[in-house]
Point group: C2
Chain length 264, copies 2
């Protein structure tokens, strides 16, 4: 059983994860971050020790959670000096589990599918945690650990996790960018972004009960060329946005033609 | 004061609006829809009379609300036979108020900025209602009426409303389409769309407290070309989606470079 954990990283995910572990009775033994400032900030929050020196890491924790940028994972692994075959996981959507191969005999992935900020508290109970491990006994350990944090634990292999990450980029990063574009369009005309917020929230909530393909409305789906042309014209001073508007509009129409056809 | 209303239309917006009026003590006198079936369905819901014949419309209601497709507004206006100078409004984001000019001396726009379905109940209290009228006395009437439904009533002119509608298309229709694309990507690999739902909800909720430009995360913002290239490759069998992925990714990066620069 995993009773104590070392967190490697002090960014958004590391911060939320450390707090969630602690609130669910899993002891955080130490925080590591390359920059002493972030490490100390997070360590202060959870009231435990930190280091910015990998050689000072506790060597016999039950679990090491690497929650850093994808490109920092390998350099960290290469510099870890732990007791043999400690259990190590990374938390990255697009990095294969096999990156851990050769550094320990016990490893896996612990990927919470959510967007995290340092300050915004999230309810881990509903966050899907995707786990993968190199051995059934490690999988069991991660399953048990994840189950303490969340009601939604899933065995997901490296390929599936990459697909999830791609879908997450589209449904989170891209979606958020369209919020930004909406906000900019309003700002240009001195209109308050608050006016859009109820619409944004309702659009998201709809998919809890309705498949998004059935929730789709608007000029693109109807192929309402009068509105589409008028709106393209309104974007005349933003050629990149105009291009995106065209492509997305065309794609909405195509996907819905196909959907209608599939229903026949 | 507006005490009774005729609703022209029986679609998503007409349905929600009729129910909201009634729940707030504004009498619906009649429902019109071109198709008797929709008219009767909605009339049944709110327990009042309906017609599918414009010549059978009550001629002296306090207000006529035209809640139909943009292209159906003018034909309806041309066939209305009401007592002189009844107050008429339309509910369309992209249609100028002036479309009503010549059909009555009292007119305006009543545009609730939200996405509506027939069955999904929405809380009108928080929905921004954008009103415009041809005369201060009509504006006052609409202001009072809207105030009974919502705490968020705004005087918005035709140009501003067009901008709002464009922003709404982007933050609702486009966003919802990206939910659809995310769902499709998962479905292709037999992964459950439910896994994405907590992320989608949290992404939307974030903007209640954080400007979306500050909430942005992910490979595009970081210009993480390794992930971007890998994800583009995963989309090799969906060239349109690949194109959209490229453009949106590029645009995220540009907008954030500009944003960083503006902060300096």
């Amino acid at each position: 059983m995993i009773e104590n954990v070392v967190i490697i990283g002090a960014g958004n995910l590391a911060t939320q994860l450390a707090q969630a572990f602690q609130e669910n009775g899993i002891q955080i033994s130490q925080i590591y971050s390359r920059t002493a400032e972030s490490a100390s900030e997070l360590a202060g929050k959870v009231g435990i020790g930190f280091t910015n020196d990998l050689s000072q890491l506790i060597t016999n924790a039950d679990l090491y959670v690497i929650a850093v940028n994808d490109s920092a994972i390998r350099p960290i692994l290469e510099n870890l000096q732990l007791e043999e075959n400690r259990l190590i996981v990374h938390t990255a959507g697009s990095v294969p589990m096999s990156i851990l191969d050769g550094f320990t005999n016990n490893y896996g992935v612990f990927y919470p599918l959510q967007t995290f900020s340092k300050t915004r508290k999230v309810d881990f109970q509903t966050i899907p945690i995707c786990i993968e491990a190199n051995h059934p006994s490690n999988l069991m350990k991660l399953q048990e650990l994840a189950g303490k944090l969340s009601r939604s634990v899933h065995q997901i292999n490296t390929d599936e996790r990459k697909t999830l990450h791609l879908a997450a980029v589209i449904a989170n990063n891209f979606v958020n960018h369209f919020y930004t574009l909406g906000a900019e369009i309003l700002q240009d005309k001195k209109l308050n972004f608050d006016l859009l917020k109820p619409l944004i929230i309702e659009t998201a909530k709809k998919i809890e009960t309705l498949h998004p393909v059935d929730a789709q409305t608007g000029p693109a789906k109807r192929n309402d060329s009068e509105i589409i042309q008028a709106q393209l014209k309104m974007l005349h001073d933003r050629p990149e946005l105009q291009k995106i508007y065209s492509f997305v509009t065309e794609n909405i129409f195509q996907v819905h033609q196909k959907h209608k056809h599939d229903l026949l």
